[in-house]
């Protein structure tokens, strides 16, 4: 990044690409060429900036100017005003929702203030397709240090001392996992990177691979050196084409630079990485299922032990780590275990990346130190609830996490606290719900996901989740009974107690936590036939308020099933037996004469 005076960083993550960031890049480049600035300014695609709510994002360096919601047509102004005249385009700057002031530098935004980006350190800063840019930010320094100065045992000790725990959800100490795999005697071992991110709405791993693939490659090589493996495999879902493409580019560059392959850095250490594409099954994130899928078998888990560390891919000792876990490794080795272990809480060190979604103002990808409270994440970073609505619940840990109430907002986030609160860390999904969300429907929604994604191998998960879902369906259809709640709890606990893998052992969590935290809502459904959030269609009733109805006939004319009758200029009437609750009348009425009850 030395030759150019200015760099325009454009988010090249999947989200912003879907919002035409390719076009923006093309347009910026055209205007730069048009105005003869091609020797002064360079346009670079980077990984995800995280602030997806405001994407596409263009950042002008070295000014650190952060443009949001950029459109291809804005390119002309950015180039002519900012690049040529040095005047930032005010209308494209981020406006603080509270002070209403424009903020030019991202460091000044609440969204970034409380974040600490370790795993995401290079996302949004470097061109992920350039190994040189990675190297310029201390890339491959850790690998060099390990191969040159540290023995595998010393390296493992450093990882152990750092306190790093698996970011895929289990939270198993990473250094210990490496040590166990190292201590198993075998002619062949494997390093596997689990990039089968499957939680709905989660994109932590995808963003790292799209934005900083070399950090994963470097860490896998270090892991190979530590455990005594010469082969690594990245298991990535085929729905991540951009991540796969960037990973492939990065692998080729690493090979060209002699950072992969034979005799790496002249140390005699050999390491190669291959890619295995998954067909997009959530359960293949479970390590034994992942390994079976890589072996060409049906993606379903098997009983542990034996653990993959002892008998994994092709029956050989295999160390499986998640993308985010790997992305932490080079930094830990560069900055030292003591630096890393100072971040976080007593038993959860470092940071955690979350995909923030739901009814929150700042949807996006964030990374915070362990110990940050849910309130800080939701209100400071997330900017609070959308449209000024009331916070109702936050669900962490993906589809099988629990739904926490406002009583838990001050819980410092770490592995143990979330479990204590009745949820879990999972791989980092975080979904915020507001007063309009029906918690019975939410539980049903998550169950729908897990029951589709169950591999079907063990009976409690295969049939039990289906039955849980059917009971919830009954409740939301107005056919529930109070004793259904007991049945739900009983069945949920048996599914958790008897299922073969983590999927079944946690799939009833949303049901249990919503019953525990929002029992009133369940009772309203089953006893009063009401959905307090107004989401369960079967329990809703559209009624015409006689006093307000002018008899304009607009509702009558728009009702698709002819459920509305009435004379012109006389109050109309909805026949409940015909009404399909489509809500058209409610939307069309100009006199607020239709009420939802």
């Amino acid at each position: 990044m030395t030759d150019y005076k200015m760099h325009l960083l454009i988010c090249g993550g999947t989200g912003c690409k879907a919002a035409e960031s390719d076009e923006i890049k093309k347009s910026l480049k055209n205007w730069i060429d048009e105005l003869g600035l091609e020797d002064d300014a360079q346009v670079v695609f980077t990984g995800c900036f995280g602030f997806c709510e405001k994407g596409p994002i263009v950042k002008v360096m070295p000014d650190n100017t952060f443009y949001v919601n950029v459109k291809p047509d804005d390119a002309e102004e950015i180039v002519k005003e900012h690049l040529l005249k040095g005047r930032p385009v005010q209308r494209l700057l981020y406006t603080d929702p509270v002070s209403k002031k424009a903020i030019s530098d991202s460091k000044g935004m609440n969204f970034y203030k409380k974040q600490l980006r370790i795993a995401l350190r290079n996302c949004g800063f470097i061109n992920p397709e350039s190994i040189d840019e990675y190297i310029s930010r201390d890339g491959y320094m850790a690998l060099g240090k390990c191969l040159g100065e540290l023995t595998p045992d010393e390296t493992i000790k450093e990882i152990k001392d750092s306190g790093l725990r698996g970011r895929g959800g289990g939270g198993f100490p990473t250094g210990l996992k490496w040590e166990i795999t190292r201590n198993v005697e075998s002619d062949e071992k494997y390093v596997v990177c689990n990039a089968d991110e499957g939680d709905p709405g989660a994109f932590m791993d995808r963003s790292i691979l799209e934005g900083d693939p070399h950090s994963v490659i470097e860490a896998m090589a270090i892991c190979g050196y530590c455990i005594g493996a010469e082969n690594g495999l990245v298991y990535i879902r085929a729905e991540y084409p951009l991540a796969i493409e960037r990973l492939k580019i990065a692998l080729n560059q690493a090979r060209e630079y002699g950072l992969l392959g034979e005799d790496i850095l002249g140390t005699g250490f050999n390491f190669e990485i291959d890619i295995r594409l998954g067909a997009g099954a959530f359960v293949c994130g479970e390590e034994t299922a992942l390994i079976h899928s890589m072996e060409g078998l049906r993606g379903e888990p098997t009983f542990k032990p034996p653990f993959p560390s002892v008998s994994g891919y092709l029956g050989k000792p295999t160390n499986v780590n998640n993308v985010e876990t790997f992305a932490n490794i080079p930094v830990i080795l560069n900055k030292g275990a003591s630096w890393f272990s100072k971040i976080g809480t007593e038993k959860s060190k470092g940071t955690k990346v979350f995909a923030l979604a739901g009814k929150i103002n700042n949807v996006g990808l964030i990374e915070v130190p362990m110990g940050t409270t849910l309130r800080e994440v939701i209100y400071d970073i997330g900017g609070g609830i959308k449209d000024g609505k009331e916070f109702k619940s936050v669900q962490t840990g993906g589809p099988s996490g629990g739904c926490l109430t406002k009583d838990f907002l001050d819980t410092p986030i770490d592995y143990d606290n979330l479990i204590k609160a009745g949820s879990m860390m999972g791989s980092g999904g975080m979904i915020v719900m507001d007063e309009d969300d029906c918690m019975v429907s939410i539980a049903k929604f998550y169950l729908e996901f897990t029951l589709e994604e169950s591999c079907g191998k063990c009976s409690p998960c295969r049939i039990g989740n289906k039955r849980l879902h059917e009971i919830l369906e009954n409740i939301t259809n107005g056919n529930g009974k109070e004793e259904d709640l007991e049945r739900l709890k009983l069945l949920s606990n048996v599914i958790k107690d008897t299922s073969l893998c983590g999927l079944g052992q946690s799939s009833p969590n949303p049901v249990l936590s919503t019953i525990l935290n929002f029992e009133d809502e369940y009772l309203a459904h089953v006893n009063e036939g009401k959905c307090p959030a107004g989401q369960c269609k079967a329990l809703l009733k559209y009624e015409i308020i006689e006093d307000l109805c002018t008899g304009c006939t607009l509702c009558f004319r728009n009702c698709p099933v002819g459920a509305i009758t009435g004379e012109r200029r006389q109050p109309h009437y909805i026949d409940q037996s015909l009404c399909i609750k489509c809500g058209v009348c409610y939307e069309k009425c100009k006199f607020n004469a239709i009420r939802l009850s």
């Binding site: 049906r298 098997t302 079907g456 063990c458 009976s459 295969r462 049939i463 069945l491 048996v494 008897t498």
Partner: protein
């Protein structure tokens, strides 16, 4: 040996390291119920997916319940197999399985033999608290096997048998979640697949999801048709297992009662497939000697080793999987088909019955025999040599249907001429038997000397692949034996790779040979049953006055009166066959 101390249901015990909780419990008489788990000891056959979750037990200090079938014991472990938590979970799991099951037990083919039914009874389930959608699939009927997968409980035993033991690879789990089921790929029909109809899936299915095509009604109809002469042949392995269906000890020989029952059912003649087994030896043994003689005379093109061809599933297996080897197996038809062919020519002529008025029924330990008798090459103008092949189990149900009190039947003898057999014919029913029978005859025909001994213990046993060298008076004959198609595949791979020096190989598709056939009374994973049946077969052989096929007087008569000599043109036409490339 390393041992582990633990406590199960308050009883301290010491077991060897590496044992599972299930095995440990069994050693002190604690029976933890299982559904998907199945282990045939000493045969290297085990299904242990840990999928049904019925065997869950409580282990102190453990977060969740542990499946006893796959959890290894550990020092100091405290296990409760019948704590309220374990019982509640176990019952809930079985209730869930039942909630996705047709529960048409009263009319199910598996009623009385169903492990799921037994489990519901064992756990005292009187109500199914979970109701909802049930899986529905199209029924798949093939010439031998019916798949009614609405009744599949995903135990995966059939899949293990089809893939790991038989290496046929037709059955595997498909779809996901609630929709997962075991099926051929793309839900194709079995008869479009490479299924061999060995029936080992049927043999291990705990429910009524896999059953044989039931032909008892066709037989009842034939028996009641006055215009038909209905004769029956019964395979060697049937007499060693049929008694189990009537509460007798496994391994009880019921030959005499079997004959008596068949006569009571109304068969006009009760014959023995063993007779045809003796005939098979005459043809196959001669073929072996011919090939050996050519080989010794320096003929480089002669096909060795010769492979047996009595087992229809094995024939279909190599037609699909090793078509390049289709010239190696003996061209001799199986005993069932030799019998049918002789019955509808020699016997029909002798009795003056028209072919179309003669119905040949066979009682077989096998489901593939149903498929075999329907093969086109075994029909004359569309009329099959064997009309119906019933399994041992179907015969038992027929006997019950006919109100016959089996255990009180007296012993009767087979009819002649197709009912006389030797001990050599009997041992066709077990792995190693065909080749031992062949050796008894081939030795004497080759060396022109009497056998020094009749029992060839070196050819017997239960090991999956066995080999032995038999001294043919100075000429060592190398014999190979495989049972289970996976083992057969291994031998065939050796042949293909040119690593084999065998002269003759016997192959049986089912583990244990026909005594373990897919049509036999269900063994429910108890390998002792198979071993006892095997012992019964050798016992029957030992009881016979004549134990070498070529000494069977009716066989000698058949050649004199009708066939001429082994491998004659007529023998070729009636007793030999050809194979097809089915790839």
């Amino acid at each position: 040996m390393d041992t582990v101390q633990l406590t199960i249901d308050n009883k301290p015990l010491v077991v060897k390291k590496g044992a599972t909780i299930l095995e440990a419990a069994k050693s002190i008489g604690v029976h933890i119920p299982t559904l998907c788990h199945m282990k045939l000891d000493d045969m290297n056959i085990e299904n242990k997916p840990g999928g049904c979750r019925v065997c869950v037990v409580e282990v102190e200090g453990r977060r969740n319940l542990a499946p006893a079938c796959c959890t290894e014991v550990a020092d100091g472990m405290v296990v409760h197999s019948h704590s309220i938590r374990a019982i509640n979970a176990r019952r809930t799991v079985v209730e869930l399985i039942l909630s996705d099951h047709p529960a048409d037990c009263l009319i199910c083919a598996k009623s009385g033999n169903c492990e799921l039914q037994d489990m519901a009874h064992h756990l005292g389930i009187r109500e199914i608290h979970y109701k909802g959608e049930q899986s529905t699939y199209r029924e798949d009927t093939s010439p031998a096997i019916i798949r009614d997968v609405d009744k599949c409980i995903m135990c995966r035993r059939c899949e293990m048998m089809c893939n790991e033991v038989q290496t046929v690879g037709v059955l595997s789990a498909i779809n996901r979640g609630f929709n997962s089921v075991v099926s051929p790929a793309f839900e194709m029909n079995l008869d479009h697949s490479v299924c061999t109809y060995c029936g080992q899936c049927v043999a291990v299915c705990p429910t009524g999801a896999l059953t044989e095509v039931n032909q008892t009604n066709n037989v009842v109809r034939a028996l009641s048709d006055p215009s038909k002469t209905v004769i029956v042949q019964t395979a060697p392995a049937v007499r060693a297992a049929l008694g189990e269906e009537f509460g007798m000890e496994p391994g009880t020989l019921v030959t005499g009662k079997l004959v008596s029952a068949l006569r009571s059912l109304g068969f006009d003649k009760v014959f023995d497939t063993d007779f045809a087994a003796d005939l098979t030896i005459m043809e196959e043994g001669t073929e072996l000697l011919n090939r050996l003689t050519k080989f010794l005379e320096g003929d480089k093109d002669v096909q060795l080793p010769i492979l047996t061809s009595c087992c229809p599933a094995w024939v279909k297996f190599f037609e699909h999987q090793f078509p390049q080897l289709k010239d190696i197996p003996s061209t001799a038809r199986s005993p069932q088909q030799m019998f049918g062919s002789i019955a509808k020519t020699y016997f029909a002529e002798k009795m003056g019955i028209k072919r179309e008025d003669l119905v040949v029924v066979s009682i077989m330990p096998c489901v593939a025999k149903k498929y075999e008798c329907g093969r086109d090459e075994f029909k004359v103008d569309g009329n099959p040599d064997v009309d119906y092949a019933l399994t041992t189990r179907e015969l038992a149900s027929l006997i019950k249907l006919a109100n016959i009190n089996f255990s009180r039947l007296s012993n009767e003898d087979f009819d002649q001429p197709l009912g006389e057999s030797t001990g050599a014919g009997v041992i066709f029913g077990t792995t190693g038997g065909v080749i031992e029978a062949a050796v008894r005859t081939a030795y004497e025909l080759y060396t022109k000397k009497p056998l020094p001994k009749i029992d060839f213990n070196e050819l017997r046993g239960m090991e999956g692949i066995r080999q032995a060298t038999i001294d043919f008076d100075g000429f060592p004959i190398n014999i190979g034996i495989a049972h289970g198609l996976g083992n057969a595949r291994e031998l065939l791979n050796r042949i293909t790779a040119g690593e084999s020096n065998f002269h003759a190989i016997e192959i049986m598709s089912c583990p244990g040979g026909c005594i373990g056939g897919g049509g036999q009374p269900y063994h429910h994973g108890n390998v002792d049953i198979l071993k006892k049946r095997q012992m019964a077969i050798y016992q029957e052989d030992g009881n016979k006055k004549i134990r070498k096929s070529h000494e069977n007087p009716y066989i000698i008569q058949l050649y004199e009166e009708f066939l001429g000599k082994p491998m004659s043109e007529k023998a070729h036409q009636l007793l030999h066959t050809e194979y097809f490339d089915r790839t």
